[in-house]
């Protein structure tokens, strides 16, 4: 990775891959200041949307709409899945291969239905 620190605290990263569509353009140049993307070079409108909005509306750990410590949310998830007779695991298309492998391991453990976005 080529990361160049610039004067005003801006970090420039080259050869960034855009996680939006399956064209996976790998030539983006991303300028970051204070953990916010301030400039996207080479990206299309969709890529700019991904990176420029990436610091906005982060999810928070919640159970039944109430914010809880992270571990409590994970514990509740385990409790729900352990009690389920016919669970569904769905998604996988917008994350990386390691997470996909974990989803499969979990599906195997709990006897789940497992499906991804290519079935829709």
């Amino acid at each position: 990775m080529t990361a160049v620190k610039q004067d005003e605290g801006i970090t420039v990263t080259e050869h960034v891959v855009c996680p939006f569509c399956a064209t996976l353009c790998d030539d983006l140049v991303i300028h970051v200041q204070n953990n916010q993307v301030v400039k996207v070079r080479n990206g299309c409108n969709l890529a700019r949307g991904v990176f420029e909005n990436a610091h906005k509306e982060w999810a928070t750990p919640r159970v039944n709409g109430k914010e809880v410590p992270y571990d409590s949310a994970v514990e509740e998830a385990a409790r729900i899945l352990a009690a389920s007779n016919n669970p569904l695991i769905y998604g996988l298309a917008a994350t990386d291969v390691d997470a996909q492998k974990k989803c499969i391991e979990l599906a195997d453990l709990i006897g789940a239905n497992l499906d991804n976005a290519s079935s829709v």
């Binding site: 970090t11 960034v16 891959v17 996680p19 569509c21 399956a22 064209t23 996976l24 353009c25 991303i30 953990n35 299309c44 969709l46 990176f51 990436a54 906005k56 509306e57 982060w58 999810a59 928070t60 919640r62 949310a73 994970v74 509740e76 998830a77 385990a78 409790r79 729900i80 899945l81 352990a82 016919n86 669970p87 569904l88 695991i89 769905y90 998604g91 996988l92 298309a93 994350t95 990386d96 390691d98 492998k101 974990k102 989803c103 499969i104 979990l106 599906a107 195997d108 453990l109 709990i110 006897g111 789940a112 239905n113 497992l114 499906d115 991804n116 976005a117 290519s118 079935s119 829709v120």
Partner: protein, 314 residues
């Protein structure tokens, strides 16, 4: 996906397309809006070894049911009647195999137009047909993609010809590949009997939810409340639903349990598969306070094993 299993498909990387293709057809796809740089990087204006002049060395055809912003990048636009992709493709297969359909037009397209297109495919050094959701999400679904693959198969007797889907989500190819490699099947898998079973229609998400079968759901990096048909998505409101996502979505707002995670390709590195099945290592540019999604998944797996053990002992 089902069509791919039934018909098979000649595949190639987008690099082959960039370097060799002199005929590119987009069918039911609007790359100007859905894959904006596909055209400049690979399929349109990109300069390649055998296409040194880029756009001038390629003939580009767009087939769709209405003009889209992609039309202005094409040499020819063929407008077909909605829901008639299968008929038009079947007529093209007939023409490819030397039979002329006994009619003046198919799906509102003149037979002469299709004859010219088929001849272009036969004369191509490398012809590529990219098809999008106009094919896969319309009535007939996998039968349409099947017709595309069969057309590609027939055309391969005359020229080098590829039929490639324009995949949407950035790692939807990876999800199919990873599931294939780990379970033997690309999607719609059920582990209820302790081994993987594959049955689209029975274990596919829309069908399962429409029949209200699941009694709990774990959504990982997806937006079912936005993307699934409402009659399927609404079952998620009635069962405990867990969501892993970096950002608030319609689905996190509805979910019973929300577990925030890092955003692969933005706040953590990871591997994704491009639409031509090339794995690409993604970089990270932002910091996130949350773990990568395989960490909470590992914890959930460990906790379920512990709960099972406790239950077995009591």
């Amino acid at each position: 996906m089902v069509a791919l299993q039934l018909g098979g498909a000649p595949a190639a990387t987008l690099g082959e397309v960039k370097n060799r293709a002199d005929l590119v057809i987009f069918w039911g796809s609007n790359p100007a809006e859905s894959h904006p740089r596909h055209f400049t990087r690979y399929s349109g204006s990109a300069k390649g070894r055998m296409n040194p002049r880029g756009r001038k060395d390629r003939y580009i055809v767009l087939v769709d049911i209405r003009p889209t912003p992609s039309v202005k990048y094409a040499d020819e636009f063929i407008q077909i009647k909605p829901g008639h992709d299968y008929e038009v493709l079947t007529a093209m297969r007939m023409l490819t195999n030397g039979n002329r359909p006994d009619m003046d037009s198919v799906g509102d397209v003149a037979i002469q137009t299709l004859e010219r297109l088929v001849q272009r495919c036969k004369d191509a050094r490398l012809g590529v047909l990219f098809f999008g959701q106009g094919i896969t999400e319309t009535r007939g679904k996998h039968q349409n993609s099947m017709a595309i693959y069969q057309f590609g198969k027939d055309m391969s007797r005359h020229s080098k010809f590829l039929t490639l889907p324009m995949r949407g989500h950035y790692n939807v190819v990876g999800s199919g590949n990873t599931m294939c490699w780990q379970t033997g099947y690309p999607f719609a898998v059920n582990f209820g009997r302790g081994y993987p079973q594959f049955n689209p229609g029975e274990f596919s998400v829309v069908d399962l939810l429409k029949r209200k079968e699941p009694d709990a759901a774990l959504i990982v990096a997806a937006e079912p409340m936005d993307h699934l048909p409402y009659e399927a998505a609404r079952h998620l409101e009635n069962i405990p639903t867990i969501v892993l996502d970096p950002r608030e979505t319609l689905t996190t707002k509805m979910a019973d349990v929300v577990i925030p995670v890092k955003h692969a390709g933005v706040s953590v590195e990871g591997t994704a598969y491009r639409m031509d099945h090339i794995p690409i290592k993604m970089r990270s540019v932002l910091n996130s306070p949350w773990p990568k999604d395989d960490e909470p998944l590992s914890t959930i797996i460990a906790r379920i094993k512990a709960i099972r053990k406790e239950e077995a002992e009591t």
